[in-house]
């Protein structure tokens, strides 16, 4: 059943075919120590150059296809994480990045959820503290495969949370 693109060419091919040559990533820092972010930033450096594959970063969740979550999902950030996910159009995919987001560093306590999966439907987990850029690239490749599956299944439409009246009422 696996349809993961494995080589860079396949990855580029999938992104070009299914996402019009541009797949946009929104990063979400849910209490990370910022080392994961440093590694993510390295992805854009010439050595890895994820733009050549068709990945781009966006600040607006409305434009994003992929949510890249770092940190142990502190409780103070829960609402923002949910709102960000809800604001993304389908098909969308959530990638939890680093040991904290995977639940390997902080236990659940009154201040943290301990892992990203407690709040968001995580599709791909990338381990490592921090994960190396190559591990991140591999994880993104897996996520693209998952996204392509969602497009095929047409299973991306239902929102995670029902609509809440926010502010205006």
């Amino acid at each position: 059943m696996t349809t993961e693109p494995v080589t860079a060419e396949e990855l580029r091919e999938t992104i070009a075919r299914q996402f019009g040559r541009s797949l946009h990533i929104r990063t979400l820092d849910t209490g990370s120590c910022a080392v994961c972010e440093q590694e993510i930033r390295l992805l854009a450096a010439p050595h890895y150059d994820l733009h050549r594959l068709g990945f781009f970063f966006t600040p607006a969740p409305r434009h994003a296809d992929l949510l890249l979550v770092t940190g142990p999902m502190i409780r103070a950030f829960e609402v923002a994480a949910r709102k960000t996910y809800d604001a993304m159009p389908g098909p969308r995919v959530v990638v939890a990045t680093g040991a904290c987001a995977l639940g390997g560093v902080y236990p659940e306590d009154p201040f943290t959820n301990g892992n990203a999966g407690a709040v968001l439907p995580v599709d791909v987990w990338i381990p490592g503290c921090p994960p190396s850029p190559l591990a991140l690239l591999h994880g993104l490749g897996v996520a693209v495969g998952r996204l392509a599956e969602k497009v095929r299944d047409r299973s991306f439409i239902a929102p995670l949370y029902p609509e809440r009246a926010v502010g205006d009422s």
Binding site: A60, P61, R62, V79, A80, A81, K83, T84, D86, A87, G90, I157, A158, P159, E163, R164, A165, V166, G167, D168
Partner: protein, 673 residues
């Protein structure tokens, strides 16, 4: 039968409506009866005005040999006045549909409606005047009746102040208008308008220019030319909504009618400079009007400044037309007259609509402050649609009416290179550039003027509780239909207007302006062409494309509704939205030199003994430059002069008897000599 007969009927209906208002407006049924009579008059005036566009000028008649204050009552329905008369009629009908739901039945309403209907009658008198005395008497009656209708709530100081500004500036303007008419009448030896127009060519150029300038400034007080405009933002907010709609939609337009009457019909001045003065004044008025509009939070003051802007645009067109006339470009002369008058009709409908909607907003929420409104599109959906139509029209966005006439004015101004001398050509294009700046700012201002009250979240509890039940819809709706008709039916309108313009300028633009197939050509075939009707059809079709895509895709995909993306904050509050003042901040900062804002910042911390930081209170106010630096010194000078004369009036009876004796003695002595 002539169009004048319809105007008689309109006048009679309005007179009856005034009496009905005075006697019957204490009951709801009486109020409705009064408004029905008023609507009847409006319909007759609209029909009469429209007909006189096609009919041409009627003869001057004096019904029954009647006289007004010594002069003969002379009436005439002219083509030039026809547009204004039709506009008066349409606005009157819309207001008559609006008023019964807006006003409470009470004696005060009765007085108000009586003053309003007399004002309608007086406006009709101004437009149908065939002689100087009739014109002046009607003009003064209109001013006084408008003063009374602004003074709907005479006990409020603000109301009295606004009404007084109106009256004072109206009277100052009236003196200049009288002087202009007296010069023309004395030099031509005629009192009827057609006779003055026929003999004006024999008057020396200096006198004609003097008469024209007096008329420009005199009527400029009514039309709202900067710096004679100060009554508009003072009087509009205190008048009832329908009164403001009438003031902006009709009374200001009569000032423009006066200018057109002198510039095109009675006394077309010779030489280029009167045109340059007119065009420059118009361009400055347009720019300053819209810049001040950007700094206003009160919807009605904002709309009043926008009226000043539009009056400026129209007067700029007239000024450029006069320049073209002086340099022998008769086709462009006629074309810009047509474009200017077309803009009069467009702005009259859109602005009356927006003032009526401002009244609806005020009734539904209890405030006119944009920063206390918001989200009205959900609570007043029908009003929002109507107001949006008017906003598109007034912001000159295609495909609505304001766009068509502003486009025509621009096309006329861009042909400034035909004006003969390079300098005048450059000045005309400079005026076009100023209008370009104005047009851009107008879009910005009306995005704010519609977006802040109608879109977003309600900023106060009153705005959240607004309800459309019982709010008038038909009146403003009628004007919205008129706005759309003026845009889509532009070729028909232009054909009628070119017949009207021909009666004044003698140049027939008909086939050149409208070469068939709903296309409009601005005076010269080698310049540009455009079809307002096709543009409207195209834009509506273009809007249909996303709708069709949505409908085609709906069976295959489900649409998902999620909240607005707010950056992920826990609670998105109305106070976090753009306010009217922050939205206009870029303009206010850029044009700081004009606004001279007086900013005061008070920190709680300054008064707190423990030095804790607390709320910070920020207040910014625009300095009323014209009131402070122009009118205040003028009033002081007047008071100083009055003080000089005061010793003569001691109040002592013996002294007055001495005066009487001295005068009699003087008369005898003079008689003896």
């Amino acid at each position: 039968m002539t169009p004048l007969d319809l105007l008689y009927a309109a006048g009679a209906a309005w007179l009856a409506a005034a009496l009905a208002g005075l006697l019957l407006a204490r009951t709801p049924a009486g109020l409705r009866a009064c408004c029905a009579l008023s609507a009847l008059g409006g319909a007759a005036a609209a029909a009469g005005g429209g007909w006189s566009l096609l009919y041409g000028d009627t003869a001057v008649v004096s019904p029954g040999g009647a006289t007004v204050t010594g002069g003969p009552l002379q009436l005439q329905a002219t083509s030039l006045a026809g547009v204004f008369t039709a506009l008066l009629g349409v606005v009157a009908v819309a207001i008559a549909c609006f008023a019964p739901r807006y006003h409470e039945p009470s004696p005060g309403t009765g007085w108000y409606l009586a003053a309003y209907n007399v004002a309608l009658l007086a406006c009709l008198g101004v437009l149908a005047a065939g002689g100087m005395v009739t014109f002046l008497v009607a003009w003064e009656t209109m001013s006084l009746a408008c003063y009374l209708l602004i003074l709907r709530h005479p006990r409020s100081g603000e109301s009295a102040r606004g009404a007084f500004w109106f009256l004072a500036l109206s009277e100052a303007g009236f003196l200049l208008v009288v002087a202009a008419f007296v010069i023309l009448s004395a030099k031509t030896g005629a009192t009827s308008l057609p006779a003055i127009a026929a003999r004006a060519a024999s008057v020396p150029g200096g006198w004609r220019a003097a008469a024209y300038l007096l008329a420009l400034f005199g009527f400029g007080f009514k039309a709202g030319l900067v710096p004679l405009h100060v009554w508009l933002p003072e009087a509009h907010p205190v008048a009832p909504a329908d009164g403001s709609a009438f003031l902006s939609g009709v009374v200001v337009k009569l000032g423009i009618y006066g200018i057109a009457l002198f510039a095109f019909r009675l006394d077309p001045p010779t030489g280029t400079w009167p045109g340059l003065v007119t065009m420059g004044g118009g361009a400055v008025t347009a720019a300053i009007g819209i810049l001040y509009a950007m700094a206003e939070r009160d919807i009605k003051r904002f709309l009043a400044y926008s009226t000043i802007e539009n009056a400026g645009i129209i007067v700029t067109a007239f000024g450029a037309a006069m320049i073209f006339h002086a340099s022998g470009q008769q086709a462009l002369w006629t074309f810009l007259l047509i474009a200017g008058i077309y803009h009069v009709a467009n702005h009259g409908c859109s602005k009356a609509l927006l003032f009526l909607e401002a009244g609806v907003t005020e009734h539904a929420t209890g405030t006119r402050d944009m920063d206390r409104l918001g989200g009205l599109i959900r609570r007043l959906p029908r009003s929002a649609v109507i107001a949006f139509t008017g906003t598109l029209g007034i912001a000159a966005l295609p495909p609505l009416n304001g766009f068509v006439s502003e486009w025509l004015i621009f096309q006329g101004l861009f042909q400034g290179f035909r004006a003969g001398s390079h300098l005048t050509g450059i000045l005309i294009v400079l005026a076009a550039a100023t209008l370009g700046l104005t047009g851009g700012l107008a879009v910005y201002a009306f995005v704010r003027g519609f977006g802040i009250p109608y879109l977003g979240m309600p900023r106060t509890r009153q705005a959240a509780a607004a309800s459309e039940a019982g709010q008038p819809v038909i009146g403003p709706g009628l004007l919205a239909v008129a706005c759309v008709a003026l845009a889509v039916g532009a070729p028909v309108m232009l054909a009628a207007l070119s017949r009207a313009a021909r009666t004044v300028t003698g140049v027939s633009l008909g086939p050149l302006l409208l070469p068939g197939k709903l296309t409009v050509i601005p005076a010269h075939a080698d310049f540009s062409a455009f079809s307002p009707t096709y543009l409207a059809v195209f834009l509506v079709c273009a809007l249909a494309v996303p709708v069709l895509i949505y409908l085609a895709g709906r069976p295959r995909a489900r649409s998902v509704t999620v909240p607005v993306w707010d950056g992920g904050i826990v609670s998105f509050r109305p106070r976090m939205q753009y306010s009217a003042m922050t939205f206009s901040a870029p303009t206010r900062v850029t044009f700081d030199a004009l606004y001279r804002p007086a900013v005061s910042v008070t920190r709680q911390a300054d008064h707190d003994p423990a030095g804790r930081s607390g709320p910070v209170h920020y207040e910014a106010q625009v300095t009323p430059v014209f009131q402070r630096y122009l009118y205040r010194p003028a009033v002081r000078a007047l008071e100083w002069l009055a003080d000089l004369v005061r010793p003569v009036q001691s109040g002592d009876v013996n002294l007055y008897l001495l005066y009487v004796f001295a005068v009699i003695l003087l008369a005898y002595l003079l008689g003896a000599v």
